[in-house]
């Protein structure tokens, strides 16, 4: 002990080792990934910035910020030693989609936000390390045979093959349960496939992660819409438990005049055409997409940034974000905002749309907007935007993208009458993901409302644990009043 105290304090490299990126002027002309990834040497150096501090009673450290509870210090230690194979194994114990989360997790608010190195310097680049290890594993083809325990004889149906569903499936398959995923689209991945653009998350990576889940023994039925083909009640006849992870796939609208003009698309439609259906490769792929000279995106979240940056890549001359609050309140991750700015996206902040104006053929031509100022904080804690009278202005636009949020997909709740929902339309769940219907669990955006990939995965992990407990030791279920209360409170 005394010896350790005498040691000179470890000198910390103050900044993260840089992430090589495609230059903005190049990348706006292609759909290739923007950060190109770090090499092994850089990853080891970055890992060495970690102090391997211990978690104390009053110290919030990296692991506390991880919704899926990855043993971050342990995998970083193995990385410091250059033992990438062990490092990724540690991540995989908790994390089914490391290559995905290594790219799209909001680390700055999670693990990295709590990193002790970050108190005085830049925190350890935990997200970059996770990405490096997942990519290394994929490139080196190290994820060979997955060893599975003896089958338990329990059958589980997972509705929806997005981040929540894939996590549940992966976790439960690896303890020997027989899992089947029912996915409505032709590929699994949910928002990872139809929503997040190729330049932020290459689809090849999603496919590889889904393949890993499949090789863990999970059966996947694509093109299978629960609520239309079978209902949750039908599934319960054949499966011991059902997990519903159908996401927030219902676009919110502004409900302003002119919103149904041609050229006005929900972010979901725009991104689905481009990502799922590969519209950016039209006419090599058949799904058309058109942007015109100027694209105006309404909204300020990650989805809005994705829309604005996609539009530049599709060849518009100007891509504008219209957001009713100021830069400080933009809900998007900072990194996404920076990327958008670097690429030349124009930010019309403190401005809200009033009306969409079209031509004689029903195509949108202009957005009528109004300047805003910030007033007192509202219920969300953010300062309320207030219209400035007389400040109306017009922006020409051939395409308008509505990226102001999504609501829970109603198909499963509609076709499962005894599943309690909240007034927001989410499925009411307790802290373990249990719903008002015995044997049915739910998680991800269908239970929480639109959130992030990693939070959906966190829900999936909790639900998987609870489902395992329900199947193997304790089949008790909360009383209906619990959900009655939950559905009123939310």
């Amino acid at each position: 002990m005394a010896e350790e105290e005498k040691k000179a304090p470890k000198k910390i490299v103050p900044k993260k080792y840089p992430m090589p990126e495609q230059k903005p002027e190049e990348r706006v002309h292609n759909f290739n990934e923007v950060p190109v990834g770090q090499d092994a040497q850089t990853a080891i150096l970055e890992a060495q910035r970690c102090l391997q501090c211990k978690r104390g009673p009053n110290r919030k450290l990296c692991m506390d910020g991880c919704p899926v509870e990855i043993d971050i210090p342990a995998f970083i230690k193995k990385t410091q030693e250059g033992n990438f194979e062990e490092a990724i194994k540690i991540i995989r114990e908790k994390q089914n989609l490391p290559a995905v989360c290594g790219r799209v997790c909001p680390y700055e608010n999670q693990c990295e936000g709590l990193c002790i190195v970050g108190k005085k310097n830049e925190p350890v680049g935990i997200g970059r390390l996770e990405r490096f290890l997942a990519d290394w594993e994929r490139n080196e083809q190290k994820h060979g045979k997955i060893e599975l325990p003896a089958p338990t004889g329990k059958k589980i149906a997972v509705v929806g093959g997005g981040p929540a569903g894939l996590t549940v499936a992966g976790d439960l398959a690896r303890i020997g349960h027989k899992v089947t995923i029912f996915e409505a689209l032709q590929y699994c991945g949910g928002v990872l496939i139809y929503g997040i653009p190729e330049f932020r998350l290459p689809k090849e990576i999603v496919r590889s992660e889904v393949d890993y889940i499949r090789r863990s023994g999970v059966e996947i039925h694509n093109d299978y819409v629960i609520g239309k083909l079978d209902t949750v009640d039908d599934l319960l006849k054949e499966y011991d438990v059902v997990f519903v992870g159908t996401g927030a796939g219902l676009p919110d609208w502004t409900n302003l005049p002119g919103e149904n003009l041609n050229g006005i698309l929900s972010a979901n439609e725009y991104l689905t055409r481009v990502n799922l259906m590969k519209g950016y490769r039209f006419p090599e792929y058949d799904t058309p997409i058109r942007v015109g000279e100027r694209v105006v995106t309404i909204g300020g979240g990650n989805v809005a940034m994705d829309c604005a940056r996609t539009s530049l890549r599709l060849g518009c001359k100007e891509s504008v974000i219209l957001y009713r609050r100021s830069d400080a309140e933009l809900p998007a991750r900072r990194e996404e905002v920076h990327h958008a700015k670097d690429e030349g996206v124009r930010f019309e902040l403190l401005a809200a749309p009033l009306e969409f104006i079209g031509d004689d053929c029903g195509n949108v031509r202009q957005v009528k907007a109004i300047r805003m100022q910030l007033g007192e904080p509202d219920a969300s804690g953010r300062r309320r935007p207030i219209k400035i009278p007389g400040s109306e202005f017009l922006i020409d636009a051939q395409t308008v993208l509505i990226a102001i949020g999504q609501s829970p997909n109603p198909l499963v709740p509609m076709t499962t009458p005894d599943l309690k929902t909240t007034k927001e339309g989410t499925i009411a769940v307790d802290s373990e993901g249990r719903t008002s219907k015995k044997g049915v669990f739910a998680g991800g955006d269908i239970a929480s409302g639109a959130a992030t990939v990693i939070l959906a995965m966190g829900d999936g992990k909790r639900a998987a644990k609870a489902m395992h407990k329900y199947l193997t030791e304790d089949p008790s279920w909360p009383s209906p009043e619990v959900f009655e209360k939950l559905s009123c409170e939310m």
Binding site: L185, D223, L250, N260, N262, L265, R273, D286, P288, N409
Partner: protein, 275 residues
């Protein structure tokens, strides 16, 4: 992948495909549709189900070969495989013992009309069916629809068969004769459905139309198929495809359905040149 069991031409430019899809076949109901993606590079398009057989485990789709995707389907033969098939989607036709039901179909709409009028008949209605096309060669499902008709009328624009004129002429005639009509059901070109709705509106005859907006996912996720019904925005895929004909904004639907015509022409030209 879904195997094509049978492929046939109904008219020179309408393809009928019977596809093996037991899961869809056992759940399908009249009035519903399916999303079809012919190849991995293809587009997801909604197509009406002309029939479905839980016994054979097949669904039958019919498509008018107008663009690249439908022409590609038109080239497919028995034994070929369709990349993706999702359904049954949309709400089924609302069936009831209405009384006298006048169903009117035109063009490709005749393919969907057949299972719907069959269901009306099975639900105990008196079925009066009016079918129409530009000429005799383009009529489809004539025999099938006739077998479930209590009264049956055929119209052609050029007079090559049946009444020389439009389906709307027959409807007007029935109304003029004070025929008791409890429901009108119309499926076909937008302009035809609009005309029918305009005829029945002054007489307050309940009128259901089956709409065909452009879709992408078909499950309520994207909003491409939004239609204005009584001033409100609805999604054709999950709230429809059938709506109250007196409330539909047909002009908006017409404009929205034209929005990708330039791109469709590029696709088609490329497809035809590649042959």
């Amino acid at each position: 992948m879904y195997e094509i069991v049978k492929s046939e031409k109904l008219t020179p430019d309408v393809i009928k495909l019977e596809i093996r899809a037991p899961n869809i076949a056992r759940k399908a109901k009249a009035g519903q549709f399916i999303m079809v993606t012919p190849t991995e590079h293809g587009e997801r398009i909604p197509l009406t189900m002309a029939d479905f057989s839980p016994e054979n485990g097949t669904v039958t789709i019919a498509a008018l070969e107008v663009g690249k995707t439908t022409k590609e389907l038109g080239k497919m033969k028995a034994g070929d495989k369709v990349f993706s098939l999702v359904g049954p989607l949309g709400l089924p036709t609302h069936l009831n013992q209405y009384g006298n039901v006048v169903s009117i179909g035109g063009g490709i709409g005749l393919a969907l009309m057949y299972p719907v009028v069959r269901a009306f008949k099975q639900s105990g209605n008196h079925t009066i069916n009016i079918i129409g096309a530009r000429n005799e060669k383009l009529l489809m499902y004539e025999k099938e629809i006739n077998t479930v008709s209590d009264e049956f009328f055929v119209c052609t624009d050029d007079g090559s068969k049946g009444h020389h004129g439009f389906v709307s002429d027959i409807l007007k005639k029935l109304i003029a004769e004070n025929k008791k009509i409890d429901l009108v059901y119309a499926v076909g070109p937008i302009i035809m459905m609009k005309v029918i709705a305009n005829i029945t509106k002054p007489f307050n005859i309940p009128t259901v139309v089956s709409l065909n907006p452009i879709m992408v996912d078909g499950t309520g996720m994207c909003g491409s198929c939004r239609v204005i019904i009584g001033g409100e925005t609805k999604f054709g895929c999950v709230d429809g495809p059938e709506f109250d004909g007196h409330k539909v904004d047909f002009d908006n639907l017409t404009a929205r359905n034209k929005r990708y015509i330039p791109e469709e022409q590029i696709s088609l030209k490329r497809f035809q040149e590649a042959k």
